[in-house]
């Protein structure tokens, strides 16, 4: 069973990777407006969690 520190580290990596990916989607000319809208939402969410996880 993963311990708390490991879970926190993995969650931070998840959010950082998701953010990087959604930033690519925003720059992707093939991405639809709906996808870009979702990407923006996820980047905001990622920023919140990254801040929270780094702060703890």
């Amino acid at each position: 069973m993963p311990n708390e520190a490991l879970r926190k580290k993995n969650a931070l990596l998840d959010w950082q990777n998701e953010k990087k990916y959604q930033e690519k989607v925003l720059k992707d000319p093939k991405a639809t407006a709906k996808n870009k809208e979702y990407a923006k939402k996820r980047i905001t969410e990622a920023d919140t969690y990254i801040k929270k996880l780094k702060g703890k």
Binding site: R7, N10, L12, D14, N17, Q22, N35, Y38
Partner: protein, 266 residues
């Protein structure tokens, strides 16, 4: 038993995976194509792998879940949360590894979604990838024991993440290595059925408030503090898929969606 006929008693047994010739035959004659549903995805899939026809070989619990109305599905999720005793299950099945408490884990156990991955030698694995064009994916484990658990446990042990519970893999080796130094190399099997996270979330947004709430509920003891998700894995199974493509991660929900190399990369 909340899972009905396909639950504990009806696991349908494990296939023990496939041989290389079986895998190649099952991948079909049409080669993989770029998967376009998820923007920026680097996965290539066969037409079969894009079909939403996953039922775990007609597992009655899965078929029932897929055909259930939303209110019945919400009650089912609540029931399995209350009735699944993970420690008891571990003891009953003689599993030496404890379960991580997440809602999808309970569904996996109640439905008996425990078929193993196909484990091949590195040579056979390379042949599989080279001959089918399947995309190589990687997972970094925190320790050798966790990797062994994936390959040898009688049960599936699913993890938690921000795009649903399941097994998180990456098409990028260095990304996988950042999670753990024990890296497993894999590829999607012919029985993988892949849906994009965008399509899963779009479907969830169309469901009733009650069902949404049941899907996102982390369970009486489970936690999603660091990685909230909306019950994406449960919804994907309901839609007939056993892999979620999140773009930055490929998330098989059941082990039989994977072919893995038995070599331990470090």
């Amino acid at each position: 038993m909340a899972g009905g006929k396909g639950g504990r008693g009806g696991r349908g047994g494990s296939t023990g995976g496939f041989s290389l010739p079986q895998l190649l035959r099952r991948m079909g004659e049409q080669g993989p194509q770029q998967y376009s549903s998820q923007p920026g995805s680097s996965l290539t899939l066969t037409p079969e792998q894009k079909k939403g026809d996953y039922t775990d070989n007609g597992n009655p619990s899965v078929v029932k879940w897929q055909g259930q109305t939303e209110d019945k599905s919400a009650r089912f999720l609540s029931k399995i949360d209350n009735e699944t005793d993970l420690s008891k299950y571990q003891a009953q099945t003689g599993d030496k590894w404890a379960f991580y408490d997440n809602p999808f884990q309970k569904m996996v156990l109640q439905m008996g979604l425990n078929k193993p991955a196909t484990v091949l030698s590195q040579t056979d694995f390379d042949n599989y990838v080279n001959q089918t064009g399947a995309t190589r994916i990687y997972r970094g484990w925190s320790g050798a024991d966790s990797a062994d658990r994936f390959k040898t446990s009688p049960n599936s042990h699913t993890g938690n993440g921000i795009n649903g519970d399941g097994y998180y893999f990456s098409t990028d080796l260095s990304t996988a290595q950042s999670y753990g130094s024990y890296v497993m190399e894999g590829a999607l099997s012919p029985t993988a059925r892949v849906i994009s996270i965008n399509d899963v979330r779009a479907a969830i947004s169309q469901t009733s408030r009650q069902f949404k709430s049941s899907l996102s509920y982390a369970g009486s003891r489970g936690t999603r503090t660091f990685g909230p998700n909306q019950g994406d894995a449960q919804m994907a199974i309901k839609m007939g898929y056993n892999v979620i493509d999140a773009g930055w991660a490929v998330i098989p929900l059941t082990r039989d969606a994977l072919v893995v190399s038995n070599r331990r990369h470090r």
